[in-house]
């Protein structure tokens, strides 16, 4: 019988790793991820989880230890946030290039300087190109579900890619929400035992990580790129199987009341739940508006996005990160690029807010909807506008 408990997203993710019978955890503590390694360490100490917990001495070593453990075929898990994700940056690329199916939950945190332990998406956006499968969670339930799903997909022999599960630091990681936990038997049906086909073993000596001279590097990279894109099939299959067993169905994009809407708002992460309420409020007042919650980030869901915006005139994209001196918020730049060649596409308006733990309220999203509409009609001097910044923002020219 599945049970409904109050859990922080951190504890939900730890619980998912436990139910997945993870073998190795190599993690370094960093706010706001700390509750994940703490809970896992506790589980190991109490015998609730039989795993090797490696208390590494930095995040760079955390991901490095994960490479080693995945290479011998152990089910491997880690977690980090913000600066920690940055410190392991070079290793993150290696995990994908060497095709090790590591699962990592990231409690999205702003990047220094100034130092901020609070939530935004700049850590996630800095690892866009690392070649991991990446999803953004909207709630603690999703944090649990996506962590479990991540093992299923990453470890599939047709995939063999590491998976990043993003959820907002503090607003999800440290907030208790009701989470439905499945039966262990259901998890065992969903998640097959991990068999890594190229495990390092003296019985069959292989070389992992040979270097790539110029006459072969390009071929290696294209092979990785094509394989990542192809993994979409298994990503969707994984979600289908998840729904069939656990009753919750997920997709690359989630459409909230978008049917016939002329104006669409696109958000990611926990702000989507807040934005949905703003959509309800506006709809009650007769506005033609809907919300797209972008869940699958990599490989980017081009097909689903293009389908979702068909018929809309305005698409407002909300970013929780600045791409300094660049083409606007990272997500809005990618959305623009994804829609550029479409014969019919909505006009795109870009907003940035929620940086370094600055909250966005329902009223803030109502403002975004109204101001977004206004910008669509009358234009704006700025490449993107901001929400909740004290002082009139100018000088962001496109």
């Amino acid at each position: 019988m599945s049970k409904r408990v109050g859990l922080e997203a951190s504890h939900a993710a730890a619980e998912a790793a436990r139910m997945a019978d993870v073998d190795v955890i190599a993690a370094y503590p960093i706010t706001p991820q700390t509750h994940i390694p703490e809970r896992l360490a506790e589980m190991v100490a109490n015998g609730e989880l039989e795993a090797a917990y490696i208390p590494v001495e930095s995040e760079h070593s955390a991901m490095s230890a994960c490479l080693g453990s995945a290479a011998v075929g152990a089910r491997t898990f880690t977690a980090t946030a913000g600066q920690g994700l940055e410190l392991m940056h070079e290793v993150v690329y290696v995990a994908s290039s060497m095709r090790y199916p590591i699962v990592m939950t990231v409690c999205n945190r702003a990047l220094s300087a100034p130092l901020s332990v609070w939530g935004d998406h700049s850590d996630a956006m800095a690892v866009r190109d690392t070649g991991w499968i990446q999803v953004f969670c909207q709630s603690n339930q999703e944090a649990f579900d996506m962590t479990l799903w991540a093992f299923r997909v990453g470890e599939d022999s047709r995939v063999l890619f590491p998976v990043m599960v993003h959820f907002d630091g503090f607003s999800l990681s440290h907030v208790t929400e009701p989470v439905i936990l499945p039966e262990q038997e259901e998890v065992d049906r969903f998640l097959p035992r991990f068999h890594y086909p190229f495990a390092l073993n003296p019985d069959e000596p292989m070389t992992h990580g040979a270097f790539g001279p110029p006459d072969i590097y390009s071929e290696a990279k294209i092979a990785q790129e094509v394989a990542l894109r192809k993994s979409k099939d298994v990503i969707l299959q994984g979600w289908q199987e998840f729904g069939d067993i656990f009753g919750r169905y997920y997709g690359p994009v989630e459409l909230y009341r978008t049917q016939g809407a002329k104006l669409l708002l696109l958000t990611m992460g926990s702000f989507s739940e807040t934005a949905k309420i703003a959509v309800d409020t506006k709809k009650d007042k007769g506005k033609s508006v809907g919300l797209i919650n972008l869940r699958l980030w990599r490989p980017f869901p081009f097909e689903e996005l293009r389908q979702a915006v068909k018929g809309a005139e305005t698409l407002i994209v909300f970013d929780r990160c600045i791409s300094f001196g660049g083409p606007g918020g990272p997500v809005s730049s990618e959305i623009r690029s994804a829609l550029y060649n479409e014969k019919r596409r909505p006009g795109i308006v870009s907003f940035v807010g929620g940086l370094g733990g600055r909250d966005m309220s329902v009223k803030d999203f109502e403002y975004v909807i109204d101001r977004g509409q206004e910008i669509m009609e009358k234009g704006s001097k700025e490449l993107y506008e901001t929400v909740g910044i004290r002082g009139k923002v100018s000088g962001i020219r496109g």
Binding site: S97, M98, R99, Y100, L160, P197, F198, E204, P205, M206, T207, H208, G209, A210, G212, P213, D215, I216, S218, E219, A220, I222, A223, V226, A227
Partner: protein
């Protein structure tokens, strides 16, 4: 003797790449004949040689092989001509000569 056929990077298309670029064939680099680096090569005086095998032990390239007669001789496919064998031979049975010499 170089047994394996040399696999050049330029033979492979992106579709030929193994997952994660893992090399499954152990020791496949032995197809590379590093002997062509040589400017000098060792000559063994079998009269002097006492078959102590120290030359075999001290070759950085594993190029010295035991022969059927019990001597230890350089495989010229791989010998880079460093001269360590000549230097450490306790009975001076090995001399290095110019590669161009016959």
């Amino acid at each position: 003797m170089a047994k394996k056929k040399l696999k050049a990077g330029t033979d492979l298309t992106w579709m030929d790449m193994d997952v994660g670029n893992i090399v499954k064939e152990a020791g496949s680099a032995s197809a590379r004949r590093t002997g062509d680096w040589r400017t000098e090569r060792p000559i063994l005086d079998k009269e002097k040689c006492n078959k102590c095998a120290l030359c075999w032990l001290n070759c950085p390239d594993a190029a010295i092989r035991p022969s059927k007669e019990g001597f230890y001789e350089a495989d010229l496919n791989y010998c880079k001509g460093c001269g360590i064998c000549a230097n450490i031979c306790p009975v001076q049975a090995i001399t290095m000569i110019e590669e161009a010499e016959k």
